[in-house]
Amino acid sequence: MSEETAILDVQGVSLQFGGVRALSDVTFSVAKGELFAIIGPNGAGKTSMMNCISGRYTPTEGRVIFKGREVTGLKPNQRADLGIGRTFQNLALFGHMSVLDNIMVGRHHLLKNGFLRGALYWGLAQREELAHRRDVEDIIDFLEITHIRKAMAGTLPYGLRKRVELARAIALNPDLILLDEPMAGMNLEEKEDMARFIIDLNEEWGISVIMIEHDMGVVMDISHRVAVLDFGQKIAEGLPDEIMNNPRVKTAYLGEDDGGLVFTDDDEEVA
């Protein structure tokens, strides 16, 4: 992929935890505006890959390039500043804060130009704050969580919490958003809502997306391209159709040789 169209380039990334090799020489590239899915069996290294992109882990080898700039050594907050947002596999809301405050925390890095300036030009800071509040309200509208904006995040049902977490990540104003199993543990209706949000996020808000998901129906439906990890290695990459019919992918998911790639997520821990 050429420099101008790729938003993210992962080049030969390996990650070692003591004796465990979580990732081996993984290379892929995500285009600007793309909705890219990463799939693979449990323990394949999907979350590790995401952590290498978001900065929580530093790869043992290889490079991560975001918007043409190498970010391999940068801290997570620096990468967030550059425009990488994320949600977590396990819920990670600030449970003791209101939904609105949770989302405002996501806004923090856009507001942070100067504690002193904020203190000195009170009026300016106020106006800036108002503009941000409007943006935050747009996000809240978009994710249809207006009715719970004052609620304490920790008291919400699971599906709504996942939505608030997405709202918080969008508040960062990212160019690329990383979603680690955004639909795990949801019922069908909630999954459909979430799928719709992700598509809108990608198409209308113009945010590139990397999504890890176990529900193959959803992955094949909404993603533009798919990469498959197995034991830390990338074993396939391509259009959803190609992946569905790839024999290596089928054998990676044991017992799925009969063609129907239907993976359950029963064994996923929730919350």
Binding site: N77, A80, F94, E129, L172
Partner: protein, 295 residues
């Protein structure tokens, strides 16, 4: 009976001040997981620096005080960056040893620089007492009370409404997630120490005005400890309540002792007795959350 009310008032006034220092302690613990045994030394240093500037340069109190605050912010950040940042990830007991060491070092340094004798603060308020409903309160005490309340309100506003307060709460709750949202944990740590040092110094100056500046100031750091444990170590509200309890308690103990028991020295010991009793009943303090306590 007049003595009783007089001591009760004293207890409340001193208690709010303990509450303020306790909040500073909790602020550091909550945001950086450091149990800061050098909290009392911030009061000591703050009061001495302010005293020194006022006496040496003969400038108006407000300016001397502002310079002190700036100095203390710098000191707090310096200590966090140079002494405690390298300790991140070390066992909690090692970190405690470091802050105890820090406290001894700072106290020794101050004794060496300024001596051990108490000195009076340049007078800011007249010392004649004000009569409130038959009870006499020194203006400096009244000022201490008002300032404490204002600081508490400031803390509340800061953490509830300001974006830096939100960022600090977010970091206290989950560093990893906060970082993923663009919050610099380093900055938050530095800010926690800066605020804590500044507000403690403010308390130190207030006590210095009332009682004079001396090494006894650092003892407040030790008194605040039962207050914080009472409140639950990680609760700001708990710190305020704990501070009030300790302040009232020591004055009540003084009253009971002075009137009936004649054991002497109850003032200093009573809070610790009550601390033990409360901890037996509620091991996590009055407002503490269970999962955080492993100290």
């Amino acid at each position: 009976m007049d003595l009783f009310f007089q001591l009760l008032i004293n207890g409340i006034i001193v208690g709010t001040l303990y509450g303020v220092v306790a909040m500073c302690f909790v602020l550091i613990y909550k945001s950086t997981q450091v149990v800061n045994f050098a909290q009392g030394e911030f009061l000591l240093i703050g009061a001495w620096i302010c005293w020194y500037i006022l006496v040496q340069f003969q400038i108006p109190f407000v300016f001397g005080f502002l310079i002190t605050l700036v100095f203390m912010a710098g000191l707090g950040i310096f200590i966090q960056m140079v002494v405690l940042r390298p300790m991140i990830g070390e066992p909690i007991i090692s970190v405690i040893m470091v802050t105890i060491g820090l406290s001894i070092f700072m106290r020794a340094l101050v004794n060496w620089l300024f001596g051990q004798n108490a000195v009076g603060f340049p007078e800011v308020f007249s010392t004649s007492s004000i009569n409130i409903g038959g009870l006499y309160v020194q203006p400096a005490y009244l000022m201490s009370f008002v300032i404490s309340i204002v600081i508490m309100a400031g803390f509340f506003y800061f953490f509830k409404y300001s974006r830096y307060g939100l960022a600090m709460r977010a970091t206290a709750f989950n560093q990893q997630v906060a970082q993923s949202l663009g919050i610099s944990v380093k900055q938050v740590f530095a800010m926690a120490w800066a605020i804590s040092a500044m507000v403690s110094a403010l308390a130190g100056v207030v006590v210095g005005m009332v009682n004079g500046v001396s090494s006894a100031l650092s003892f407040i750091g030790i008194k605040v400890f039962p207050a914080v444990i009472l409140g639950g170590l990680d609760s700001i509200i708990g710190a305020v309540v704990g501070g009030l309890i300790v302040g009232v308690l020591e004055n009540m103990a003084e009253y009971v002792d002075g009137q009936f028991l004649y054991w002497g020295n109850m003032l200093t010991i009573a809070p610790f007795w009550v601390l033990i009793i409360i901890l037996v009943i509620k091991p996590y303090g009055l407002f503490g959350t269970k999962d955080i306590e492993r100290v």
